[in-house]
Amino acid sequence: MLDVIWLIPAFPLAGFLLILLFGRKLGEPRSGYLAAAMVLASFVVAVGAFFDLLSIDDEHDRHHVETLFSWVPVDALQIDMAFLADPLSITMCLFVTGIGFLIHLFAIGYMHGDPRFSKFFLYLNLFVLSMTLLVLGENLLVTFLGWEGVGTCSYFLISFWHERDSAATAGKKAFVTNRIGDWGFMIAMFLGFAHVGSVSYGALNGAAEGGGLSTRTATLIALFLFVGAVGKSAQLPLYLWLPDAMEGPTPVSALIHAATMVTAGVFLMTRMNPMLAAAAPEVSQVIAWVGVLTALFAATVAVAQTDIKKVLAYSTVSQLGYMFLAVGSGAFVAAIFHMVTHAFFKALMFLGSGSVIHGMHHEQDMRKMGALRKVMPITAITFLIGWLAIAGVPPFAGFWSKDEILLFTLAERGPVLYVLGLVTAILTAFYMTRQIIMVFFGEARWTSHANADEAAPEDVASDDHHVSTAHGEFKPHESPVIMLFPLVVLAGLSIVGGVIQLPSFGFIPHDWQHKLESWLHPVVAAGEAHITGSSAYENKGLLALLAIACALVGIAIAIAIYVRKVAKPVEPELLANGWYYDRAVSDFMGGPGRKAFEAFAWFDRTVVDGAVNGAAKLVKAGAGGVRTAQSGNVRNYAGIVGVGVVLLLVWFVIGRGFF
């Protein structure tokens, strides 16, 4: 399967082209099934490739480059359209296509009745194509192609319901904010070419490992790559597009803005881990700090959100912060581990919220929900599993990955970052508990607006298969099987996802420990931190208990406040508005920023355009004088030619001294 690794992106490409050509004819739901089948086919190829790699005994031979064609052959710059199959890229492919398939299935139910049904799956397949290109690329340019592709699809899908002003604006915001990150990515690429003469991962990482790069160059490349990662993975200070991206349909939020695309930055940093190892140690410090501050910041904001998807959005930003904390602590395996488990439980919860929104007739305000477990039992149970996983309750998947990140943080970065991480863990458990209480428990607040008009008129996905919209009675309902199936599968994965990387506790069989670490070892060997001798590692059992305690404390506080009502909920405006960061940015850009841009525009109009227009005017005036020579009279011309000949003759004879 390794030599047909290109099939992984080829299947979604075929789906994209087929839907592009015949989408209207296929219609609903066949275009959805076609798209899902293509992603499933990619998944099968990825599984085959996985076992092929696994069957290679020597872990250093688990590395296969498949070159399709020479893409940019320009003198010294030789870039191939080549795919790299190694443990990291195959891990990414497995969960991108696997979860992608489940979300495609969910979307068939969720997008039911949408007039642009087939177009939605067109974009989804294009997204999977770009994402697989991103992770499979053998050089930075192929990855960049995918990088831009997922950004474009993200833009299309956020503003999928572009009739809504907020959706169109959110799409633009995501696109523009991502440009800043793309700039960093491109600078890193240029630097790599300037100093190594290649943009392929093998050459760049080889130079970094072999000491062929000065620390200064490696630092610059690593920093600029991190700028790219910050944009794509929604870290401070560029996180602000992600909460707005929730304007897109919920399957999009689950696929792009939780499970796959936003983790591209973490993937990139892991892929380039030898570069990070060769860079100045301050780079990792910066990454760890950005990560932990983002995690804490977003967790505080999530505490006060009332929109069901906004909570999950800020939670995603926060969890991505954990992944960057891991990257900054040299825990690349833990970062990928958390990426995978996060993809399981966050996709689960986004789809669960999609199911809730679907059942609530496109109501997203949690204050109008409550007690939904009675009408949506399967959604509720699966969502609760996701909640336990993200809160960090063992044995659910999120506990293992978060615990490992915190362990590395304490060992590598010291107690300050560790405590910040723990506080974030408490907040995570708190806001997620708050969410499930508001949505699934307590009293039903939706009867109070028993009115079909609540389903806002601009909602495109129609609810014509519900009796309720026709007249009067508003009643939430459980979602169809095609939406529940992905929920159940993801819930199962969220429970057992931790087995891929169990820690070395005494009670866990030795064969079951550190599976992911030994699998990813050849890729991350250069950058991975070794903490086995540290005091943190000696006390890892104690630390795990501490993490569990934090999760339980968070849950307990939330129950005390929202169920027992021992204290009034603390949801200050400050947090609900995200510390006014978003407002501050838009105010700054609207005020002084706008003035600065206007000054630039003035400079452009008067000086730059002035120079250009001045040159044009000069030429025009000169031409106006010269063109009178063009009399249009043939005999005139003939006369001038004659005079010219005579003058030339005179010059030859007298000037040059002929004869």
């Binding site: 063009q630 009399s631 009279n633 043939v634 005999r635 003939a638 006369g639």
Partner: protein, 108 residues
């Protein structure tokens, strides 16, 4: 042939003078006449005046390249006649009696 004429041995200068006269006639005609057809004929006159110089010098120096050049001039002139006459005829068909001075559409 009369003895007087037989006594005159034409030298290269003769041909050059003839050529210069022909060229002068052609150039003057081109400048003073307005009928496009006549102007066209004047151009032919000038071209062939030059041809005579080519041949004269080729004979004088025993070098064939002058005569070769004449062939090129004739071929180009033939091509030019085809195009030029075509244009002139189509102009005259649209505007009968037009002179070269009337055709000043390209005035700047």
């Amino acid at each position: 042939m009369s003895p007087v004429l037989a006594a005159v041995v034409p030298t290269t200068a003769y041909y050059l003078i003839l050529s210069a006269v022909l060229f002068g006639i052609g150039a003057t005609g081109l400048l003073v006449r307005r009928n496009p057809l006549i102007m066209f004929m004047c151009i032919e006159l000038m071209l062939n005046a030059v041809n005579i110089t080519f041949v004269a010098f080729a004979t004088r120096f025993g070098d064939i390249s002058g005569q070769t050049a004449v062939f090129f001039v004739m071929v180009v002139a033939a091509a030019e006649v085809v195009v030029g006459l075509g244009i002139i005829i189509s102009i005259l068909r649209r505007r009968p009696g037009a002179t070269a001075d009337d055709l000043a559409e390209l005035k700047g």
